[in-house]
């Protein structure tokens, strides 16, 4: 009650009906974890959160409750990682990376079948006999894999050992699903089934050894593990390695630097204006020599509005697609993500549901420049997300190109605006639908366009691309809008996860974030 944003209890996953609050946004009272077992059978539910107090007072009750909370937290965090005899999966740490099986075991087609291409990080690979699909970054192997996890993780070598990437191994050891062992003391002791003196790796050891290995940063790992916990499948994207520079191929510097292609109203618009011109020959093309509307006969408001739309805008559909390596870290896609519902095969991953770039907002305190963002967007056919991370906290933003001029407010009078609209066209429309989620909730705020930017819900800045400064805050708190009659690239930024509404004013007030880069 003290805090509307924090106090909403976990709502059913009906994302579109109300702005929910993500429980993970706040420090949880671990006492409620202890209640879990009471309903563990029926639902793997998450406990309701407790009431928090506004401020400390000298009452004993408050002190007791705090002590209980801390005790519960202590207990929950002390829970050991156990491996029962039946479920135990043993793995070994290979500090030197992939080593081929000891006894060359040639014809094993199974490995072939399991191999796949997504791990083919273009790092200069060391010679990999037989199992070329295993990443050079893999550093943990499972001699006898069993259990559900290896369907979506790891790569098998020719003797059916599964090799895990550092993040995979770390994730599995952290959730208590893998018993990783240090390499045996003497290299000679390699007898199968005899792990005489192999010491189990601690969680701490796993972090110390795997983190930093093969471009794995804590930020990337946090994003990886955060999504894994929710059931997503993740594979490394080709842009994983930071040391791959933008390729200087046939594209000359000058043309490459021009990040945004400015378009007129697109093909449809051109056809439309052609049509208008035929329909209304009296109108003048130049606004400099006469009134914008002209003196034609107007049978419909639409005609008038169409003529008022004089601002050229950027259309992502017609933008050229770029190679991923044109992007510069950190604004580069590092993960391909698959929803839990997406059928995913390790050997042939489908097109990803999401592409994720991971940005540490500690190191990158400014908004991406238009060049960075433009390259990122153009290197992806769909919508990437940016996971911003700041000291253990991860926040996701959806970044989408938006075709500013495509959202024709005037064609849309009356009636609730939202995903149900029939007037759809291909890709950008689809993105639009996703970014409109919020608008169902706040119907009165739904229609956001030039006409509405002056409404009090919005705070407007125009970001000059020459001087991109941090707006007092990491990504997430920026509400930028445009109202300039310049050719402008509009990028819509909105938090995808409606429940992450804590992050930033924009989401809090149900507004969408526009970042406009002034390219003049």
């Amino acid at each position: 009650m003290a805090d509307a944003d924090e106090d909403v209890i976990h709502a059913p996953a009906n994302a579109s009906t109300q702005p929910e609050v993500d429980l993970s946004d706040e420090t949880q009272d671990f006492r409620f974890l202890n209640h879990l077992n009471f309903f563990a059978d029926s639902s793997p539910g998450i406990p309701r959160r407790g009431e928090k107090d506004f401020e400390p007072n000298p009452t004993e009750l408050q002190a007791d409750v705090l002590a209980a909370s801390r005790g519960a937290m202590h207990n929950a965090l002390s829970y050991p990682r156990l491996h029962g005899a039946k479920t135990r999966v043993i793995a070994f740490y290979a500090p030197d990376g992939y080593v081929p099986p000891a006894q060359p075991d040639r014809a094993k087609p199974k490995a072939e079948e399991d191999g796949k291409s997504s791990e083919s990080t273009p790092k200069p690979a060391r010679p990999l006999p037989n199992s070329a699909r295993i990443s050079p970054d893999a550093c943990v192997y499972v001699p006898s894999p069993k259990g559900q996890f290896f369907k979506r993780m790891g790569q098998a070598d020719s003797s059916s050992r599964i090799w895990l990437l550092p993040e995979e191994a770390l994730y599995l050891i952290e959730r208590g699903s893998l018993d990783i062992r240090w390499p045996r003391p003497s290299a000679s002791a390699g007898g199968p089934g005899e792990e005489d003196l192999s010491v189990p790796m601690s969680l701490q050891a796993a972090y110390a050894c795997f983190m930093g290995r093969g471009s794995l940063t804590l930020e990337r790992y946090s994003v990886y593990t955060g999504l894994k916990r929710l059931g997503y499948a993740l594979v490394r994207a080709p842009g994983w390695c930071d040391d791959i520079e933008p390729q200087d191929t046939d594209v000359s510097d000058g043309s490459k630097a021009a990040p945004a292609k400015l378009h007129g109203p697109g093909l449809a618009g051109i056809l439309g204006s052609l049509f208008n011109w035929i329909h209304d020959p009296l109108s003048t093309a130049s606004t400099a020599t006469g009134p914008i509307i002209g003196t034609g006969i107007h049978r419909h408001y639409m005609d008038v509005y169409r003529k008022l739309a004089i601002i050229p805008w950027y259309d992502p559909v017609t933008a050229p697609e770029r190679h991923p390596f044109d992007t510069a870290p950190p604004f580069r896609v590092v993960f391909h993500v698959y929803k839990p519902s997406t059928p995913f095969k390790k050997s042939a991953p489908p097109p990803p549901d999401f592409r994720i770039a991971v940005v540490s907002t500690r190191d990158q305190t400014t908004m991406p420049t238009m060049t960075q963002l433009g390259a990122l967007l153009e290197s992806t056919p769909l919508t990437p997300r940016v996971g911003g991370k700041w000291s253990g906290v991860v926040s996701y933003l959806r970044i989408a190109d938006s075709a500013f001029g495509k959202e024709k407010l005037y064609e849309n009078k009356g009636g609730p605006q939202g995903p149900k609209r029939s007037r759809t066209n291909q890709k950008p429309r689809k993105q639009r639908m996703q970014t409109m989620e919020m608008s169902i909730v706040h119907r009165n705020r739904a229609q956001m366009d030039l006409a509405h930017l002056s409404v009090t819900y919005h705070l407007c800045w125009v970001v000059d691309h020459r001087e991109l400064k941090m707006l007092s805050a990491p990504i997430g708190a920026i509400v930028v809008a445009l109202a300039r009659i310049y050719p402008t690239l509009v990028t819509a930024l909105r938090q995808t996860h409606p429940s992450r509404s804590g992050s930033g004013l924009a989401t809090h007030i149900g507004a969408k974030i526009y970042i406009s880069y002034d390219t003049t």
Binding site: A2, F54, E55, P291, I293, T295, S454, T456, C460, A483
Partner: protein, 206 residues
């Protein structure tokens, strides 16, 4: 479309624009200050506005427009609790002068500025009190005759306590009202008001 002449005719300037134009302020911060005063007086019905004086300026910046709001702008949560416990309503109390700092978008502003505002606040407070006494000694008093003795007693206690909290800061520290005028793109007359406290003052919960 027939009469384009008429359509392009310039609309009349707003009252405040005319006012500012007529005064012909020689520096933009004076115009900002005038706009805020105008807004306080006519939109928010503040009274006893002490106009801008050269003494109120600091580094080319209007520091304060002391004025009295019709209702209290700010009550510290603990003060509110005290009032609740003692049955004191806001209407029982005399209005509190608030010091308003006019600012506008794009104006240089920093912690140094903010600190300067608070460093000079006591001085201006004193001046404003002198001014109040000189103008009308009784106008600031609520209708004391209509009070029953019990209430009067409570109120006296309240004022006592209030005086003490000035030192203990139990009921908040020095504060002023930051008025922010949007002049971007010609401005739309919006003035946003924020209460600024010196130091860490816990937020109100309502």
């Amino acid at each position: 479309m027939a009469n384009t002449q008429e359509a392009t005719k310039r609309p009349n300037a707003s009252a405040i624009t005319e006012h500012i134009a007529k005064k012909g302020y020689d520096s933009p911060h004076l115009a900002t200050s005038a706009q805020v005063q105008h807004n306080l007086e006519h939109q928010h019905l503040w009274t006893s506005i002490i106009g801008d004086t050269p003494a109120n300026h600091h580094e080319n910046q209007s520091l304060y427009s002391p004025a009295t709001p019709p209702h209290r702008v700010y009550t510290h949560p603990d003060e509110q609790l005290y009032m609740l416990e003692n049955g004191i309503r806001e209407d029982d109390l005399k209005p509190e002068r608030m010091f308003v700092v006019p600012t506008t978008q794009g104006q240089p502003w920093s912690l140094r500025h903010m600190a300067a505002v608070f460093d000079r606040l006591p001085e201006f407070k004193q001046k404003a009190e002198e001014h109040d006494r000189s103008v009308d000694a009784t106008s600031m008093q609520p209708g004391a005759e209509s009070l029953d003795p019990e209430k009067a007693e409570k109120l006296a206690q309240y004022y006592d306590k209030k005086e003490k909290t000035r030192v203990t800061k139990e009921w908040g520290t020095q504060r002023c009202l930051l008025a922010m005028v949007d002049k971007g793109m010609g401005g739309d007359g919006t003035v946003a008001y924020y209460v600024v406290h010196e130091g860490e003052v816990k937020p109100r919960q309502n």
